[in-house]
């Protein structure tokens, strides 16, 4: 297959394409033959029991984890050991972590402008203007000059979302964004994510928030023991799960 064909094959509306992806941690087979195509503008929610490989799956998208077999193509770029391609992908893919991973030595504003200034080579004024715009969109503009440690968990997570958006990513990855928040702060973060979804952002969200999945997702992916067990639109997924393991999982979390 020629290079241009490979590119065309990877494109064609697909933002992310996993083909036959395997990964091992030592001898532990954590991802098993993952095949999944995420279309541009599509919202995917990944759920499954802990240790099922959900986080590992989305961390393969920006190469925080390296897969050992198969191919991962993101926005037309296949991920290999080539550091240039990895950087290219990371510039276009934003990520929000369970523990926020804000930089504690920088103010919220500086957290947001760091990558645009140093990676996108944006002039400082423009980067700050962009950051203010996005901080006001996630409703924490008044916290811009505080340090992460002075904010509540929900505010920090919204700041982290704004920081990722400052790179104007085409794809956003969310790795259990509400799992380490106090219950009263979950909603403000989910609302922010819902707004983002409504604007047409391509998103993969690993979460246990089934209400969010039902409301926002185009498709729900259920993983267990490193493999994709079931993929379906939210209503049939929750109302008529087909695989036994999906039924068991849903019965455990939806009391």
């Amino acid at each position: 297959m020629s290079a241009s064909l490979a590119r065309a094959d990877a494109g064609g509306g697909a933002a992310i394409r996993f083909a036959g992806v395997h990964k091992w941690y030592g001898s532990f087979h954590v991802l098993r033959n993952i095949n999944l195509t995420v279309g541009a503008g599509e919202r995917i929610v990944v759920c499954g029991p802990s240790g099922s490989g959900k986080s590992t799956l989305i961390r393969c998208v920006n190469r925080l984890e390296k897969h050992q077999r198969g191919s991962v193509v993101v926005d037309g770029v296949e991920l290999t050991d080539d550091i240039k391609r990895i950087d290219e992908v990371r510039r276009e893919v934003g990520m929000v972590f369970q523990n926020f991973n804000l930089f504690p030595h920088l103010t919220i504003l500086e957290n947001c402008t760091l990558a645009p200034i140093w990676v996108r080579k944006m002039p400082r004024r423009d980067a700050e203007e962009l950051a203010r715009k996005l901080l006001s969109r996630v409703r924490i503009l008044d916290q811009a000059h505080k340090y992460p440690g002075q904010l509540s968990g929900g505010q920090q997570q919204r700041a982290a979302i704004a920081r990722a958006l400052c790179m104007s990513p085409k794809i956003m990855l969310f790795d259990e964004p509400t799992s380490s928040l106090d219950p009263e702060m979950v909603k403000e973060v989910l609302d922010t994510m819902t707004e983002l979804a409504q604007e047409g952002m391509t998103m993969i969200v690993v979460t246990h928030e089934m209400g969010f999945a039902r409301q926002v997702a185009d498709r729900v992916v259920f993983m267990d023991m490193g493999e994709i067990v079931e993929v379906n639109a939210p209503s049939p997924f929750f109302d008529h799960p087909r695989h036994e393991r999906t039924k068991l999982f849903l019965s455990q979390i939806l009391h």
């Binding site: 920006n62 893919v93 934003g94 990520m95 972590f97 030595h105 990676v119 340090y147 990722a164």
Partner: protein
């Protein structure tokens, strides 16, 4: 009658904290006289201070000899310090055997250096980036040209053989500090590098240098290095111990900094990588600022140790301040029972002032950095 259910009807008023826990008397009672034993220790310490302190002050001031041209007066008054000796030897203690006519050059280098360091250390100073540029690029060239001399500018060459005293001590310390910190950072990063060759080289360097006493390093730098280099490259006799001190200090610095690097969570690396920062940007903008801040106390501890270790360069024939003091004490004109004590007390005060200054400054920086961040 109490029931198990309860609902509040009026809010509880906010009240001031009890006053018993503050004030000088409360502090003294809690910390100095909390028990009979503690009271006895406190009183004992106060008594000792009251007995010793006036004598010490009198020895250093009222009973001391402040001016004399030789040791005769000091030999008569043995119950006080002989500051006249330090005053008479002051030029030698500062410059060693540097030619008298050229000593203005040392003064100039010291003054400019003090100015630039002040600029850099003053945390709110304007344009510190310019100060850093001047200090790290322009100043070393200026210092080298002025101290060593340059036939182009009509400044007579002064061989390093003649350099000595306080200015050599300060020079050694500043060169050691300025070079060992970046080298230590590189070694610490190297030790955590995923590239096996870089990692092995760093580990070997650090473990070798840490496993050898400083004096051995000095002798090796002094005697072995010239054997391995072509004669034309043979480094200057002052440069060799300087290199030794940098190498020695860098190894300890690297371990200190590695501690800081290890205390950062994986999340900081992942947060930076996910934003598209490459390794150099991530290290410079996210990792090092945090890691270095965490280990400021350890780094300053190393600086203080390095400043003390500069006194050891005398074993390879460099006349640092302490060696100059040793030489001065041996002067037969001043021979007397109070000379040695006076000389070493003065040297002690000198080293203490610098080290205490460094310690206080680092505490100040830590307070500034801690502000806002939690």
């Amino acid at each position: 009658m109490d029931s198990l259910a309860y609902v509040r009807e009026a809010p509880e008023a906010e009240d001031a904290a009890p006053m018993l826990s503050s004030g000088v008397l409360a502090w003294a009672r809690a910390n100095l006289f909390s028990s009979i034993g503690s009271s006895l220790v406190t009183i004992g310490c106060i008594a000792l201070i009251a007995y010793w302190l006036p004598q010490l002050v009198a020895w250093a001031t009222t009973r001391a000899i402040w001016s004399a041209t030789n040791g005769a007066l000091c030999r008569q008054h043995q119950d006080g310090a002989c500051w006249a000796f330090v005053i008479a030897k002051w030029d030698y203690l500062r410059f060693g055997s540097y030619p008298v006519a050229e000593r203005w050059r040392v003064d100039l280098v010291e003054a400019v250096g003090a100015l630039l360091i002040g600029w850099l250390l003053w945390t709110n100073a304007p344009r510190r980036a310019w100060g850093a540029l001047l200090f790290f690029i322009a100043y070393p060239i200026l210092a080298l040209v002025l101290l060593r001399g340059s036939s182009l500018l009509g400044l007579p060459i002064v061989d390093t053989l003649l350099w000595g005293g306080i200015f050599v001590s300060l020079l050694t310390a500043v060169v050691g500090i300025v070079f060992s910190l970046p080298l230590g950072v590189l070694l610490a990063l190297g030790r955590r590098s995923p590239l096996p060759v870089v990692r092995m080289a760093s580990v070997l360097f650090i473990e070798f240098v840490r496993g050898v006493p400083f004096i051995t390093i000095l002798f090796m730098a002094n005697n072995l290095a010239p054997l391995f280099l072509p004669e034309a490259w043979a480094p200057d006799r002052l440069l060799r111990p300087l290199a030794g001190i940098v190498i020695f200090s860098a190894a300890y610095m690297a371990e200190e900094i590695r501690g800081g690097l290890q205390s950062l969570g994986k999340g900081q690396y992942e947060g930076a990588l996910a934003l598209g920062l490459n390794y150099p940007l991530m290290t410079a903008l996210v990792i090092l600022p945090q890691a270095l801040t965490l280990v400021i106390p350890g780094i300053v501890n190393n600086f203080i140790g390095l400043f003390m270790d500069t006194t050891l360069v005398s074993v390879v024939g460099i006349t640092d301040f302490l060696q100059a003091m040793n030489n001065a004490i041996k002067d037969p004109i001043w021979a007397g029972p109070t000379i040695m004590v006076t000389g070493y007390v003065f040297a002690g005060i000198f080293y203490f002032c610098f080290c205490f200054g460094m310690a206080r400054y680092s505490a100040h920086v830590e307070r500034i950095l801690a502000k806002g961040r939690k």
